[in-house]
Symmetry: C2
Subunit: 432 residues, 2 copies
């Protein structure tokens, strides 16, 4: 029996993840070949800096200064893009690869969030796979879990902890009772946060991933612009403390659902009750919950980033391609995806955590509670804590189930008064 021909990879990007893919294909070569039915070999690579030390031998691979040239090479059957960036070289390479009718594998959530549908369309026209398991939740096979594992279900909701940097920061703030800025600085020092952490801490990275998950889960067109996004910079150690007193932990959660024909997509720090699986997700881990009408609640947890987990997801895609797996990138042809209007965040109906800091003078609590009453929001529990360093009083409340518009109106009325010493903070509560 002739051994089947190998799947030959053109690899663009040799940062942590790119080097990880090379290391994985070296370390697990025999095992990958057994599972894929053929060998998977890198034949050509491209990166910005050829000389950089990466701990891998690049001499055995052909080199291209211009990543786009990988797509055209005769010794490349499939391109892996680990360059990053929504546009620029990554997008040029994606287009060139699909135009050359070769499979394309990427970990680039920003590019998919912005150009995923156009690329999926190009992949369909070329009849080649476009795969991106590594783009969401790192090593956790959640794209496959939703696209295939839960495929028989109408999903009511998909949500999860999609950014390991934010989860690392929030859980360290919780365990060590430290402030946001202090933990962020330490996370940067330890390599858990980027030098420019904007995409992570402002929730943009999680929003990219959520937009991809929502499309897969609900059969809708990717709508990154429709994700209402709020980061974690406003969360204080006091919030975490009071949430704990009330039986909750604070996590940055990306959440999507279809409600009344509209697509709700939101990235927000949320309160999660102890006992909910997401409340136990610690440090840089990621986790995703999908709720289906037959399967019930599925929960996936694992490492959301880093060399090994991301390389694991990239090579899982390559094994699928080597096995001949194909099918549309977003589970159905792009033409079949529904264009769904975004939901109005004000239409949400849920319990909320509200935190205000106010001046320490008589009647302030009456002002706050009157603002809530006038907006029709009732209070389930309230904690008032004495004067802090800034001379302010910290008031944390959990509302009964209320409409988003009503809560916003109450916060607006509070802010219009004279007693607040800082902008009020609202966090939704996720129920068990």
């Amino acid at each position: 029996m002739n051994s089947p021909s190998p799947l030959r990879i053109g690899l663009a990007g040799l940062g942590t993840v790119g080097a990880g893919v090379v290391r994985l294909l070296d370390t697990n070569a025999a095992l990958v070949a057994r599972r894929a039915g053929r060998r998977i070999e890198v034949s050509a690579v491209s990166a910005r800096d050829r000389a950089r030390a990466r701990g891998i031998d690049l001499g055995r691979f052909a080199w291209e200064d211009d990543a786009t040239a990988l797509a055209a090479r005769d010794d490349v059957d499939c391109v892996v893009e680990l360059v990053g960036g929504a546009d620029g070289p990554a997008l040029t390479l994606a287009r060139a690869t699909l135009a050359a009718r070769k499979p394309f594998v990427t970990a680039n959530k920003a590019m998919l969030a912005h150009h995923g549908l156009a690329l999926a369309q190009a992949a369909e026209e070329a009849a080649v796979p476009l795969k991106f398991e590594a783009a969401v939740a790192g090593g956790i096979p959640v794209i496959k879990g939703i696209r295939e594992g839960a495929a028989a279900n109408e999903l009511a909701r998909v949500y999860g902890i999609l950014n390991g940097t934010c989860n690392y920061i929030l859980t360290r703030m919780e365990h060590e009772r430290l402030g946001f800025a202090e933990v962020l600085a330490d996370a940067q020092r330890l390599g858990f946060a980027e030098a420019d952490p904007t995409f992570d801490i402002e929730g943009i990275d999680a929003a990219h991933k959520l937009a991809i998950l929502a499309s897969l889960s609900f059969g809708t067109r990717i709508d990154f612009a429709g994700v209402a996004t709020q980061g974690i910079a406003a969360v204080t150690a006091g919030d975490i403390d009071h949430a704990a007193t009330l039986g909750f932990r604070i996590r940055l959660v990306g959440s999507a659902a279809v409600d009344d024909g509209r697509l709700m997509q939101r990235v927000h720090p949320c309160l999660i009750p102890l006992g909910h699986p997401l409340a136990a997700v610690e440090g840089p881990l990621n986790a995703v919950v999908a709720e289906g009408n037959f399967v019930g609640r599925l929960f996936f947890q694992g490492r959301g980033a880093g060399e090994g987990p991301t390389a694991s997801a990239v090579v899982a895609d390559l094994i699928d391609i080597a096995r001949g797996e194909a099918g549309p990138a977003f589970a159905m042809p792009v033409a079949a995806l529904a264009a769904m209007a975004p939901a109005d965040p004000g239409d949400s109906v849920e319990r909320c955590y509200l935190r205000v800091t106010v001046q320490d003078r008589p009647g302030v609590l009456a002002e706050l509670t009157a603002a809530l009453r006038d907006a029709g929001v009732s209070i389930e529990s309230l904690i008032q804590r004495g004067v802090g360093e800034d001379g302010g009083v910290f008031v944390a409340m959990v509302t009964h189930v209320a409409k988003g518009q009503a809560v916003a109106a109450a916060l607006k009325a509070m802010a219009a008064g004279s007693s607040l010493t800082a902008a009020p903070v609202m966090m939704p509560i996720i129920e068990r």
Copy 2:
């Protein structure tokens, strides 16, 4: 454009799960067709009793008294077997379907544990898929998660809570401080345990599932006979109580690993430290942990049984088949699976929980501790509880890391003495 022809199903078995598959294909018909690229329709069915009320309209399906006849029907492209039983009609149908070169989908872990390799071989020869997502952990896509999602990894270990009945019983014993027999009787009344619960509570059902998972995880031949199996009937409320005092919960865990070229497979009540994801798995849920050399620890949790979750897994397999997905049942051709000798359970090296009940007389504790010392097993913690109803004293110990043979020798020495009032109980500890 012509719409593609539907995938026509012959469905054998119309119990809870079979009826669930019919209901799912009715309820989610349009969505399943969008994701599968074609409609999936039941054309013929077979069950023991045609007249039984199932809440579904069978009049639209052809009927076969003999399930085997489904395989030969011209209007059946694919057979789904939900009859159950390791041999008998299920096996006859599997063989007939594969001989007819049609895809075969089953939830039958007993049949796979005993005949999975022969069936996989027949499927390979016929070049048709043999799929069984529903056979392990119900609705959780763990077969897919390991076969495909974690495919790039050498797995060090796979383990999990694979039997919902046992987990339901153990967690109720824990929360309500009740005895095993009492909770079992109540579970039977409520439908969480079968009238004959032997397969569940003795660990056999979990062992079937573990043997399948181990083969997929390690690329080894299925070896059900090699699973060392112990059920939960010996676990007492006192064990659960003392484990909690020491920071553990008790769960029935199926665990498999490759150690020194040998395959360790074990189903055993285990102590799990609080903080380990398996410790939080409550009631009838199932969960699986897979540890890969690149991805690290993956954790999957969901409903392990019941109409909806099992139907979800069966139809996920059908969608894969409708999409043209194929590939070997156990991730690689049967000929490539390694025949690995079973590990000697005595070679395990781990901490253990030991519980003995002894007569209430001076010197008994010295006897017990001498037996451990003589076997070279040292004690990390010990709890002795006063005289119980039977006049015995309850002693619970956690050992330091020790070899299985040494622990067994100590238990043997204790049992040979005159002070034990019941057989000693050993449970391994799973580390965080």
